[in-house]
């Protein structure tokens, strides 16, 4: 018999017939290699049994659940993918680390309660947003109760703005706002389904149909730096579950 690997697996598992086992025993009596390997395999099986089942971490299924919702509403599916977790947390950290001018300064003008923050090419030289996959935005607190139509209007506004001025943002916060911002951002990252090229341009604390929520407004870019769609994710403040989603193509 050459080394009977298939039978050795069954031998270690105790899954052989009497005849098969006898044949393997006979082989083992003469083959040191297989004796050694069988001993090793027994150790391995014992070791593998020490791997216990781990619980599924919170939020893993959120993008899947969201996708089910999107499909049942017949909406266009945003480009598949998720923001890499590490990149998301890095972006959150970068966001909190950014400090220069106060957030209200950045949020000064524009319609719709907290306009998207734009900067022309000269302005960005001084307040370059992070070079990370996500640009940083400050948390806007809005006393607004959004509904689906409101989300669509917001998406349209941002799309129009992105088209007109190539929106860029800088995250600028007082220390007091940092914790809230981090919480909002992490909540959104947990719930939404983003890619590295998706750029966060607005982060809003408001209500959605009466539920306290965070709204994340993203520019979706199939190619880096060339956004073609505005996507808004709405997650509940309480548990980061997805409440709604809206998108608007930049045309």
């Amino acid at each position: 018999m050459t080394h009977p690997e298939e039978l050795l697996a069954g031998y270690v598992d105790g899954a052989l017939t009497d005849d098969e086992r006898a044949a393997v025993d006979a082989h083992l009596a003469t083959c040191e290699t297989c004796r050694e390997e069988t001993e090793l395999a027994l150790h391995a099986v014992t070791a593998l049994a020490s791997l216990e089942e781990e619980p599924v971490p919170f939020g893993v299924m959120n993008p899947v659940t969201a996708e089910v919702g999107r499909r049942s509403r017949g909406q266009r599916m945003p480009r598949r993918g998720r923001l890499e977790w590490a990149a998301g947390l890095a972006a959150a950290a970068a966001l909190v680390a950014l400090a220069a001018v106060g957030l209200p300064h950045m949020l000064g003008g524009g319609a719709g309660g907290g306009a998207a923050m734009s900067a022309d090419s000269a302005g960005t030289a001084e307040r370059e947003p992070t070079a990370e996959s996500l640009a940083a935005a400050g948390l806007e607190v809005q006393p607004v109760n959004y509904d689906t139509a409101g989300l669509e209007a917001l998406a349209s506004d941002v799309a129009a703005q992105a088209k007109s001025d190539g929106m860029m943002v800088g995250g600028l916060q007082s220390p007091a706002a940092q914790d809230a911002t981090r919480a909002a951002l992490e909540c959104l990252l947990r719930g939404s389904s983003l890619t590295e090229n998706d750029q966060l341009v607005r982060l809003i604390e408001a209500k959605f149909q009466g539920t306290p929520a965070y709204l994340g407004v993203f520019l979706e870019s199939p190619k880096a730096g060339q956004p073609d769609q505005v996507v808004i994710w709405v997650v509940a403040q309480k548990d980061c579950s997805i409440l709604s989603f809206s998108s608007k193509r930049i045309t």
Partner: protein, 203 residues
């Protein structure tokens, strides 16, 4: 949890019943996540692979025709998601990406030792070629029979068995198990060792 068959739930999903998805997800997410975790060795990767697997399953659900059991099909989708992810991440060697600052478990028996052992096993598992690793995770960790592993991986049962054997040997070597070279396999006195069925223990 509903006692409904997976295949019936799939049919309801395809008819547009969102609640059926929820039941399917809940039923399988743990196995899918744990398969991904053992394959990739990292929680972040396991999250991604789990999401990829379910999103792919969602997209391809209409192509699931019920020739295979749903669990077999879902495992196959998951294994493919893991392979894809490992390929993408192959630039960073797996071992470098494992947390190497894990505190050493204190030299006391009981749970702490168990955790330390599991980490060692997980690390060693990542040194085993992927095809062998899949076979071991499905059969030795998740207790699936050879035939189902073969259906999931898409190879003959004999191939599964030889991969299992080679994988086990590679794993033990990666763990640094010394070989005494005694004639014949002897059962080790080891708590938690799986018991072979009666009458088949090597003598």
């Amino acid at each position: 949890m509903s006692g409904e068959r997976d295949e019936d739930l799939v049919r309801r999903c395809l008819e547009g019943d969102r609640s059926a998805f929820g039941v399917l997800f809940e039923r399988h997410e743990r196995r899918v996540y744990n398969l991904s975790l053992r394959m990739t060795g990292r929680e972040e990767d396991a999250r991604d692979a789990t999401q990829d697997a379910f999103l792919t399953a969602l997209r391809k659900l209409s192509s699931f025709r019920g020739e295979a059991a749903f669990t077999t099909w879902l495992h196959r989708v998951t294994v493919n998601a893991c392979y894809d992810l490992l390929r993408k991440r192959s630039r960073a060697p797996l071992l470098d990406r494992l947390p190497d600052h894990e505190p050493e478990p204190p030299p006391t028996p009981d749970h702490a030792d168990q955790v330390g052992l599991s980490l060692d096993v997980q690390r060693a598992l990542l040194q085993v070629p992927e095809d062998y690793r899949v076979a071991m995770i499905l059969h030795d960790v998740q207790d699936l029979p050879y035939e189902q592993v073969a259906a999931i991986v898409g190879v003959p049962v004999g191939t599964v068995k030889s991969r299992l054997h080679r994988g086990r040997v590679a794993l033990a070597r990666a763990l640094g198990v010394p070989v005494a070279g005694r004639p014949g396999p002897e059962r080790r006195e080891r708590p938690g060792a799986p018991e072979p069925s009666d009458g088949t223990r090597p003598t």
